[in-house]
C-alpha cells in the first residue's frame, strides 16, 4: 500500500438497495472525478468547495452510466484526511459496479478491505483501539451490539481495563522494589495482601468475561433452532416471521453456519434461525445425516422454538423432541390455534424440568396471528433472562474476550503460586503476563500482528 495511490470502493453493502455510494480517496480523487463526472454548471470537481454536493452524470466515452450526486471533501477534512469524493449512484449491483469500474479505469485502485480506515489511522485521525471499535460499530447489526461498541468507542471499557491494569502493576512494582531494596521494603506477610488484591481483580475480570458471552450473543445473533414434527407448521411459521419485513432477511457470509440459517431482526435482537429437518427416528441413511445435524444445532442453540400442532394429540415424535430439548431455553408455540385444540398447555409443559427456561404462546401460522406477541415474548425472554442488564459493560469483541480470558488464567497462576508458597519473584512472571494481555485490549501493549489483524477484519469500502 502506498498513500500516493488513490483508492476506490463501494462504501455501501453489495445489495439491491436504493442508493449505493462509491468512495474515492487519495491525491487524484478530484482529477479522476473530473474525467468522468459532468455537471450542468460545467465546473471542475477540483474547483468545488469542500463539503458540497453536486448533481450530475457519470459519463465515459460519451455514454451516460448513471445519474448521480457527488460530494466533495477536501483534505484534511475527510474520513481518511485525504481528498475524498463520494459518488451516490442508483443502487443495483450492475450500475454500482459500472460506476466503480469507470473510476478505476480512470486511475484509482480498488481499495483493500479496511484500507480507508487504515489510511485514517496512518494519517493520525484515529488510534488503533478506536479503529477496532469503529469496526465493531460497522459490523454491529443490532441496537444492543451497537450500544456496546459505542461504549467502547467512548472509552468505558478502556477506563475499566486501565484501572485493573494499574492495580496489577502496582503490586508488581511493590514486589520488584522489595527485591531491589530489601533493607527498606519488606515482603513479610505480603502474600496475604496480594491474594486479596488478585481475588478482587479476578472477580472483575470474570464478570467481564461473562458479559462477553452475552455480548457475543448480542453481536452475532441468537442461534435459534426451530423444531417440531413434520407438518407442525415450522416452515409456515418461519415464512411468517421472515415475511414480516422482507428487507432484513439476509444470508450473512461467514456467520451463516448453514444454508438453512436465516437472519431475522426483532427490535434490538438478531435471531439466527435454523429450520431443522424434522427430528424423528430416521430409517434411511440420508435422513439420518439430517437428523444428526439437527441434534448438533440443538446442542449449540441459545434458544429453541418448539412448534406443536395443537389440533392433534401429542405423539411419540413430540415426546422424542421434548427429550432432546428439555434442558434448553424453549418457547413452545402451539400452532393451528385457529383450529380446535385437543391438547392442554400442561400436557406439554409438565414434561419439562425447569419452567423458568420455558415460555408458551398460541399462534396461527395460517391466520398469521400471534406474531406480535411472539416478538414481545422473545425480547422479554432473552433480555430478562440471559442478559442481566444492558447497562453493564458488554464485551462484544472476540479478541477482547480472549485477552480477558488470558489475563484470568495468568492471575489464577499467581494465586496458585501464592498457595504453593513460592517466593514472590515467581509471581511477577504471571502478573506481567496478565498486565500484557489487558494492555493488548486497550492498545497499551502492541503485539506484532495486532495492527494488521485489526485492519484485515474490516470489510471492503470501510
Amino acid at each position: 500500500m502506498n498513500n500516493n495511490e488513490t483508492i476506490a470502493a463501494i462504501a455501501t453493502g453489495l445489495s439491491e438497495s436504493g442508493i449505493s455510494i462509491i468512495r474515492v480517496s487519495g491525491p487524484d480523487a478530484f482529477s479522476i472525478a473530473d474525467k468522468i463526472f459532468k455537471c450542468s454548471d460545467n465546473k471542475k470537481v477540483s474547483e468545488y468547495e469542500s463539503h458540497t454536493i453536486h448533481y450530475g452524470f457519470i459519463r465515459e466515452n460519451n455514454e451516460i452510466i448513471d445519474e448521480v450526486i457527488l460530494s466533495v471533501m477536501r483534505s484534511p477534512r475527510s474520513y481518511t484526511t485525504e481528498d475524498t469524493v463520494e459518488i451516490n449512484c442508483h443502487g443495483g449491483l450492475l450500475i454500482t459496479k459500472k460506476v466503480l469500474e469507470a473510476v478505476i479505469r480512470n486511475g484509482a485502485r480498488l481499495a483493500l478491505p479496511g484500507e480507508f480506515t487504515k489510511r485514517a489511522f496512518l494519517n493520525g485521525r484515529i488510534d488503533l483501539t478506536r479503529a477496532e471499535a469503529i469496526m465493531d460499530v460497522i459490523s454491529a447489526d443490532n441496537e444492543l451490539a451497537l450500544k456496546a461498541s459505542v461504549k467502547h468507542l467512548r472509552g468505558d471499557i478502556f477506563e475499566k481495563i486501565l484501572n485493573l491494569r494499574n492495580e496489577i502493576i502496582h503490586e508488581t512494582a511493590y514486589i520488584e522494589s522489595a527485591l531491589d531494596d530489601p533493607e527498606h521494603i519488606s515482603l513479610d506477610g505480603y502474600s496475604d495482601t496480594l491474594k486479596e488484591k488478585i481475588n478482587s481483580i479476578l472477580c472483575e475480570l470474570i464478570k467481564m468475561e461473562e458479559s462477553a458471552l452475552d455480548g457475543q450473543i448480542i453481536k452475532d445473533g441468537i442461534l435459534t433452532v426451530i423444531v417440531g414434527k413434520p407438518n407442525a407448521g415450522k416452515s409456515s411459521f418461519l415464512n411468517m416471521l421472515i415475511g414480516r419485513e422482507k428487507a432484513i432477511v439476509t444470508d450473512i457470509a461467514g456467520t451463516t453456519r448453514d444454508a438453512l440459517e436465516q437472519h431475522v431482526r426483532i427490535g434490538d435482537l438478531s435471531l439466527n434461525l435454523v429450520d431443522t429437518a424434522g427430528i424423528r427416528s430416521a430409517k434411511d441413511e440420508v435422513e439420518k445425516i439430517g437428523v444428526e445435524k439437527s441434534k448438533e444445532y440443538l446442542k449449540e442453540a441459545d434458544l429453541v422454538l418448539f412448534i406443536v400442532d395443537s389440533s392433534i394429540k401429542l405423539d411419540k415424535n413430540d415426546l422424542d423432541i421434548i427429550d432432546l430439548i428439555k434442558d434448553k431455553n424453549v418457547i413452545i408455540l402451539f400452532n393451528k390455534s385457529d383450529l380446535s385444540s385437543v391438547i392442554e398447555e400442561k400436557d406439554v409443559t409438565d414434561k419439562f424440568k425447569d419452567l423458568d427456561n420455558l415460555r408458551v404462546l398460541k399462534i396461527s401460522a395460517k391466520e398469521k396471528t400471534g406474531i406480535e406477541q411472539f416478538c414481545d415474548l422473545i425480547k422479554e425472554f432473552i433480555l430478562d433472562q440471559s442478559i442481566s442488564s444492558n447497562n453493564e459493560l458488554l464485551i462484544t469483541n472476540e479478541r477482547h474476550r480472549e485477552k480477558i480470558h488470558e489475563a484470568i488464567e495468568s492471575l489464577n497462576l499467581v494465586m496458585d503460586s501464592i498457595n504453593k508458597n513460592m517466593p514472590e519473584d515467581f509471581m511477577t512472571i504471571d502478573l506481567m503476563s496478565a498486565y500484557a494481555s489487558l494492555g493488548e485490549i486497550i492498545g497499551e501493549e502492541i503485539s506484532e500482528d495486532l495492527a494488521d489483524e485489526i485492519f484485515s477484519k474490516f470489510c471492503m469500502g470501510k
Binding site: 496512518l122 519473584d425 502492541i446 503485539s447
Partner: protein, 650 residues
C-alpha cells in the same frame, strides 16, 4: 621544530579501570595490537569505592562477563577474602554472588594479567585529544592538525593524541574514562579538583570529545569514609560470615581451589541520633546546598538521601567491611556522604561500635563529565563517529560490574569491526548485560545507571547459575573462549538434558518401598506410578533426597545437578517466561530500515517523531522502549512498515 612520536596500532583504550581493562584484554586476546592509556599505572583496576564485587544482579553481570571471556570473575576468584551467595531464601532467579575483595591484591592481580597479555601495551599518559581520519591526514611534523575544510561526511576515528603531543594512529578507540573527566571531589565545603583517591583528572579530553559533536553531561557519585580497624568496637556489631561452601565467580575456576579461610564483615545500624545530626547539617551538604550540579544515583544513595527519603525509618543498615588483608582500613558500607569532615565524624560516632572511630579517609562525593549513552548504538559505538566506542561510567552507569560488562562489549565490538565480523549484541532476553546496554542506549536516564534485578524482565531465564549456558557459545564464536572450555560446556549441556530425560522417564510404582519413603518425608502417598521428575516437583523433595529411591543414578557434577533441579522444579514458570520472550523477540526482529523517513509517517505524535529521528532505533522493539514513544506510535509504525516495506517484514 621538534618531531613527535607517531605510532600505528589497532586499538587505543583510554582508561584502565574495570571497563578499560576488559576492553583492552578483549582486543589484545583477539589478536589486535592494543594500547591502554592510564594516568597512573599503579591504579589499574582500582576499586575506589566498595571493597566487593558482585551483589544482587551485579553478580549476574560478572558471571555473564566470565561466560563471554572477560577477566573480572577470574580476578575476583584470585583475590577475594569472603564470598556469599545472596538471597538464597528467594527463588533461583535472584540468587546472586558477592565477594569481598582484597583491594590492593585485586589491582595488583589485574595489572599482572594486563602486563603479561600479548599484543597489549600499557602506557601511562593522559589522552588529550581524539583525532579523526581526516585530522590524521592533516597532521604536520609536530603532530598539530593543520586547518582544513571539514565536510559533512560521517566522522571516522583515526587515533588519539597524548599530553606530550605523541600521536597513536589506530582503527578504533574505546573511551573508558570513568569518573576522571573534569573530576572534582567534594567533602562538605572542601573541594578538590582531582579524580578518585586524589588521582589526576582529565581536563583536556572533554573539549576534544565535544568537538566531535558528542554531548557531555555531569553526573555525581559518592563513597563513604574508611576507618582505622583499631578504633572500632566489633563486639557491638553482628559478624557477617561467608558461605561454608564457596561458589566461584568464574566458570573456569575449580571450586576446590578457592575454599579459603574467610574474614568476616560486620553489621551495625544508624539511629535517631545519627539522623538528627544529618538533618541539622543538611544545609552544609553540597547536594542540598546546591553546590553539586551532577545527579547522583537513586539506588546507591548517600546517608543524607536515605534520611531525607525514608523519614519514618528509625535505623539504616551499616556494613563494616575490610579493605584487604594487609591494611587496617575498614569500609563503612551504607554511609556514603558529602557532608563536611566534622559532621561526618560526629555522625559516624553515633553508630554502635563506632563511638571512638578514627577516620583514615573522609567520605566524599565526586562529580565528572559523562555522556548520555543514547548517543551510542547497541554495539556501544557512537552513532556519529565510526570506530569510536565507549564503556563504563563514562556512559552514565555506576558500579565496577556495570563498567566491566560494557568495557568487554565495547572492546569486543571494536575488534569485530576491525576484523569485519558481526558485532556482539546481547538482547534483553539473553542476559543482564543486554538489559544494561539496552537501557543505557535506549532509555532516558537522569542519574548514574545501576543494574538491578527489577530491570530484567526475563530474569527467571537470566539466572547467575546458567550464564555459561546462555552466553559461553557466543564467547566461543567471538574467540575469547577456548576450545577446551567450549567442549566442557557442550558436555555439561548433554549431561543436563540426559539427566532430565532420565528423571522424566523413570517411573516409580506405588509399592511398599516408595510408600515408606513418602511417609518418611511427609509427602502424600502415591496412588499410581509417577516419574521421578514429578516427585521432584513436590515441595518435600529435591534431587538429593530422591537418591534414596533412584537406583540407576550416576554421580554428576554439582553444576549439572543444579540445572537439572531448577529446570524440573520450575518448568511451568520457565515455559511461560519463554513464551514471553517469544513475543519480545518478534518485535526485536522487526527491523526499521535505515532509510526510513519519519516525516512520512503522518500520524506519529510530534514528540515521538522527534525522538525516533534522533535515536534511529534499529528495531520496532527498541523503538517501543524509547521514552516519549507511546504504544499508539508503535502501532502506527508497525502498520506503516508493513505497508511501506512489505518485504522487510515477512
Amino acid at each position: 621544530m621538534v618531531s613527535r612520536i607517531r605510532e600505528k596500532v589497532d586499538v587505543c583504550v583510554v582508561g584502565a579501570g574495570h571497563a578499560g581493562c576488559e576492553a583492552a584484554l578483549a582486543c589484545a586476546r583477539l589478536g589486535l595490537n592494543t594500547v591502554i592509556f592510564t594516568v597512573s599505572v599503579d591504579s589499574i583496576a582500582l576499586m575506589p569505592c566498595n571493597p566487593n564485587v558482585g551483589g544482587s544482579s551485579k553478580g549476574h553481570l560478572v558471571r555473564e562477563l566470565d561466560a563471554l571471556g572477560g577477566e573480572m570473575g577470574k580476578n575476583i576468584d584470585r583475590t577475594f577474602i569472603q564470598s556469599k551467595m545472596l538471597n538464597v531464601s528467594k527463588g533461583p532467579a535472584v540468587h546472586s554472588l558477592r565477594a569481598q575483595a582484597d583491594k590492593a591484591e585485586y589491582t595488583r592481580a589485574m595489572r599482572k594479567v594486563l602486563e603479561n597479555q600479548d599484543n597489549l601495551t600499557i602506557k601511562q599518559a593522559e589522552v588529550t585529544e581524539l583525532l579523526t581520519v581526516e585530522d590524521i591526514a592533516h597532521l604536520n611534523d609536530e603532530n598539530e592538525v593543520t586547518e582544513y575544510e571539514k565536510n559533512d561526511k560521517k566522522l571516522i576515528i583515526g587515533g588519539v593524541k597524548i599530553y606530550t603531543g605523541a600521536v597513536y594512529e589506530c582503527k578504533a578507540v574505546v573511551l573508558c574514562t570513568g569518573t576522571y573527566l573534569r573530576a572534582r571531589c567534594l567533602c562538605g565545603e572542601a573541594i578538590t579538583y582531582t579524580g578518585p583517591n586524589g588521582l589526576q583528572p582529565a581536563n583536556h579530553l572533554p573539549d576534544s570529545i565535544k568537538k566531535l559533536g558528542i554531548e557531555l553531561r555531569r553526573f555525581k557519585t559518592g563513597t563513604p569514609a574508611r576507618m582505622d580497624k583499631r578504633s572500632i568496637d566489633f563486639s557491638k556489631m553482628i559478624p557477617q560470615y561467608g558461605d561454608e561452601k564457596i561458589v566461584p565467580f568464574s566458570f573456569s575456576t575449580d571450586p576446590e581451589s578457592i575454599q579459603i579461610e574467610q574474614v568476616p564483615c560486620y553489621l551495625t545500624y544508624t539511629n535517631e541520633e545519627t539522623h538528627e545530626i544529618i538533618r541539622a547539617n543538611l544545609d552544609r551538604s553540597p547536594i542540598y546546598a546546591g553546590v553539586i550540579e551532577g545527579t547522583g544515583p537513586r539506588y546507591c544513595p548517600s546517608i543524607e538521601d536515605k534520611v531525607v527519603k525514608f523519614p519514618e525509618k528509625e535505623k539504616h543498615q551499616v556494613f563494616i567491611e575490610p579493605e584487604g588483608l594487609h591494611t587496617n582500613e575498614m569500609y563503612v558500607g551504607g554511609m556514603s556522604s558529602s557532608l563536611p569532615e566534622d559532621v561526618q565524624l560526629a555522625m559516624y560516632r553515633t553508630v554502635p561500635g563506632l563511638e571512638n572511630c578514627k577516620i583514615v579517609r573522609n567520605a566524599y562525593a565526586i562529580e565528572y563529565d559523562c555522556i548520555d549513552a543514547m548517543q551510542l548504538l547497541p554495539t556501544l559505538e557512537f552513532k556519529t563517529v565510526s570506530g569510536l566506542f565507549a564503556g563504563g561510567q563514562f556512559n552514565g552507569s555506576s558500579g565496577y560490574e556495570e563498567a566491566a560488562a560494557q568495557g568487554l562489549v565495547a572492546g569486543i565490538n571494536a575488534a569485530m569491526q576491525i576484523k569485519g565480523k558481526e558485532p556482539l549484541i546481547i538482547d534483553r532476553s539473553e542476559g543482564y548485560i543486554g538489559v544494561l546496554i539496552d537501557d543505557l542506549v535506549t532509555k532516558e536516564s537522569f542519574e548514574p545507571y545501576r543494574m538491578m534485578t527489577s530491570r530484567a524482565e526475563y530474569r527467571l531465564l537470566l539466572r547467575q547459575d546458567n550464564a555459561d549456558l546462555r552466553l559461553r557459545k557466543k564467547g566461543y564464536e567471538i574467540g575469547l573462549i577456548s576450545e577446551e572450555q567450549y567442549k566442557h560446556l557442550i558436555d555439561k549441556e548433554k549431561m543436563i538434558s540426559d539427566e532430565i530425560q532420565r528423571l522424566k522417564s523413570t517411573i516409580v510404582g506405588a509399592n511398599a518401598r516408595i510408600s515408606a519413603f513418602m511417609e518418611k518425608y511427609d509427602s502424600p502417598a502415591l496412588r499410581t506410578g509417577c516419574s521421578l521428575a514429578e516427585l521432584m516437583c513436590r515441595p518435600q523433595f529435591d534431587y538429593e533426597k530422591l537418591s534414596e529411591i533412584d537406583d540407576e543414578r550416576i554421580k554428576l557434577p554439582d553444576e549439572v545437578i543444579e540445572q537439572v533441579e531448577i529446570e524440573i522444579k520450575y518448568e511451568g514458570y520457565i515455559k511461560r517466561q519463554i513464551s514471553q520472550v517469544k513475543s519480545f523477540k518478534k518485535m526485536e526482529s522487526k527491523k526499521i530500515p535505515e532509510d526510513i523517513d519519519y516525516d512520512d509517517v503522518n500520524s506519529l505524535r510530534r514528540e515521538a517523531r522527534q525522538k525516533l529521528k534522533m535515536f534511529k532505533p534499529v528495531s520496532v522493539g527498541q523503538a517501543s522502549r524509547i521514552s516519549g514513544v507511546s504504544p499508539a506510535d508503535i502501532s502506527v509504525l508497525l502498520v506503516y512498515l508493513s505497508s511501506r516495506y512489505p518485504k522487510n517484514n515477512e
